[in-house]
Symmetry: C2
Subunit: 350 residues, 2 copies
Amino acid sequence: MTAAEPIARVAIGLNAVVAVVDDGRPKVLCRCDEDGVFSLPYGPFDPARHRTFEIGLREWVTRQTQIDLGYIEQLYTFGDEGREAPAAAFQEGAGGERIVSVGYLALAPEPADVSAARGQWRDWYDFFPWEDWRAGEPTALSERVLPRLAEWAARASDEAERAARARRIDLAFGADGWEEERALDRYELMYEADLVAEAVRDRGSDGPARAEGAGPAGAPMASDHRRILATAVGRLRGKLKYRPVVFRVTPPEFTLLDLQRRVEALIGFSLHKQNFRRNVETGGFVERTGASERPPSGRPAAVFRASDRVRKELAAAGLTIPRLRRRARFFGDDDGGMTDAAGSDSATVA
Amino acid sequence: MTAAEPIARVAIGLNAVVAVVDDGRPKVLCRCDEDGVFSLPYGPFDPARHRTFEIGLREWVTRQTQIDLGYIEQLYTFGDEGREAPAAAFQEGAGGERIVSVGYLALAPEPADVSAARGQWRDWYDFFPWEDWRAGEPTALSERVLPRLAEWAARASDEAERAARARRIDLAFGADGWEEERALDRYELMYEADLVAEAVRDRGSDGPARAEGAGPAGAPMASDHRRILATAVGRLRGKLKYRPVVFRVTPPEFTLLDLQRRVEALIGFSLHKQNFRRNVETGGFVERTGASERPPSGRPAAVFRASDRVRKELAAAGLTIPRLRRRARFFGDDDGGMTDAAGSDSATVA
DNA sequence: CCATATATGCTCATGTTGAGCATTAGGAAA
DNA sequence: TTTCCTAATGCTCAACATGAGCATATATGG
């Protein structure tokens, strides 16, 4: 009741997942340290200098990569012990102490040149090979990941735990259908099952991950950055379906196929071309510029841009990007399943 | 590049929005201080004692209200200056310094008795009268809130700002259809426009809010708690449509009308009874117990419970609640509008 | 038995979705 | 030029989902 306790202060780290689609691939801005370990741009939050997290984040990213962030959105705040420590070395004088990470997602229409700043744009599927279903189910998934998860479930101490593990695997890895937004669940499960290198690193456990490198378990990242990246992947995938965020990773003018490829890159699976076009056009998201573009071969494609309405909405800085009325369905979808969504989260544009 | 700066430490506050539906009304657990100001249960996060935020949060809530939280989910982390300070008095020795609030949403099937702990279950529409459309558009909205927002827009210094304000009002307050999930956007806009008492308090500005009390602008709360509550309302409303979360605010057995009323209470508008039933039944979310219940008058209603599938899913503690495949629509909805959603966010059950 | 209040069953027009066929328009090869 | 090849585009269709509302069933209280 009486809330008088000595207050512990905590160091807060700001992490950015800066995503673009380049050459048909979803890429994320990374830095690569001396040991070849990738990390996200990050830095400590200093309340004395920054009125908001976002201001601090923008400053850190600019300082580390020379990039000015446009659209950004808060993802999640990670506060659990043992996930951030090993590589959270940005701090001097914070050794061993808890660091809370606030993750952000930023989107940009193209990869800026970051070579001067030791930056790199990495295909995010390097970190999550099992998430890319554009060419069908990834072989790494069925041949390596799932069997190992099954072993992990089997290793459970008792039957109840075994069943619980099996159920979680089914849910995350889609026993009844792959759900692309579950990227975080999948990564977390693999972490728990010691299938990713970070788990071995953090827990000193000795799993199959040690020998893998960037194989079926994907490339590891510093600290809890891969977890933050997985959060970003899942969040962006969810959002793509309900918000015109694609236009944040798209140049002002584009063909519908280009647009589709960007969506596919992020969402991780392929779409029916004609239906995609119908959806986008009849939905009033795009409008023709009148120009057309000749592909290397084939009929020229009409060039589009985001519709006036969408552009207005994207310009509504500091306010959540809008949607129109969505009929309420309770509480699931067509398959009788349930989908994952969240309420309004805010986003800002520099 | 070199990340060596002295690291500032920050106090972190954990805030819980504990929601139930009681007697057809959505209620939130509050504490009421000496001055009659409501606040959410909260307390500082102490990394030395709590391995995770959630553990800390559960402890605080239990200590303050004797309640053991079940399902909880992280909402958002608020770090901006000037929103938390005035009433964030839980700390001794943190005076004036920045406090970061991590907000959580908790759901329970019924209101526990919290009278002994100075707790109260308050109808959340006391705080957001404009959010309850169950009986049609709230008069407070059209008669008081909207006109004042229009005045605020008109007061803008220049035309560009005026247009921007008008656009934001349209988006948040649904010029083309009310979107129930936008609760946070609406509250934030009202805060910016000095329509809510907290704005006056925080900024010392002198708006119409001062004279309102809990009138059309709703009852104020301590610190930034009302903002956190608005976040919770929006998030829960969004989630209700895609996840079987209703069953977290529902007793094990219920009639379909009871279920519907709970959804309506949270979502803030009324539903077509037969269609709701069709949706819930054909979706396989519920199953009949065989029993029936006699209402005060009228035909007895069949008693249902959450289906086996739903119960299993709800039991998947520590993992995001599942959904089945949702067909990808890009990137909007039927009306050609765009909807708000987010990716996977995790939730745990005690 | 009648009036009243729900619960519950069903129908219907409309709109959406997933698939796929057919046609069109450039460049390149024959 | 004519023929191929490759995409872009236009359209059709069946299955299903959604929003509304009519009709019936089963209680309770005169």
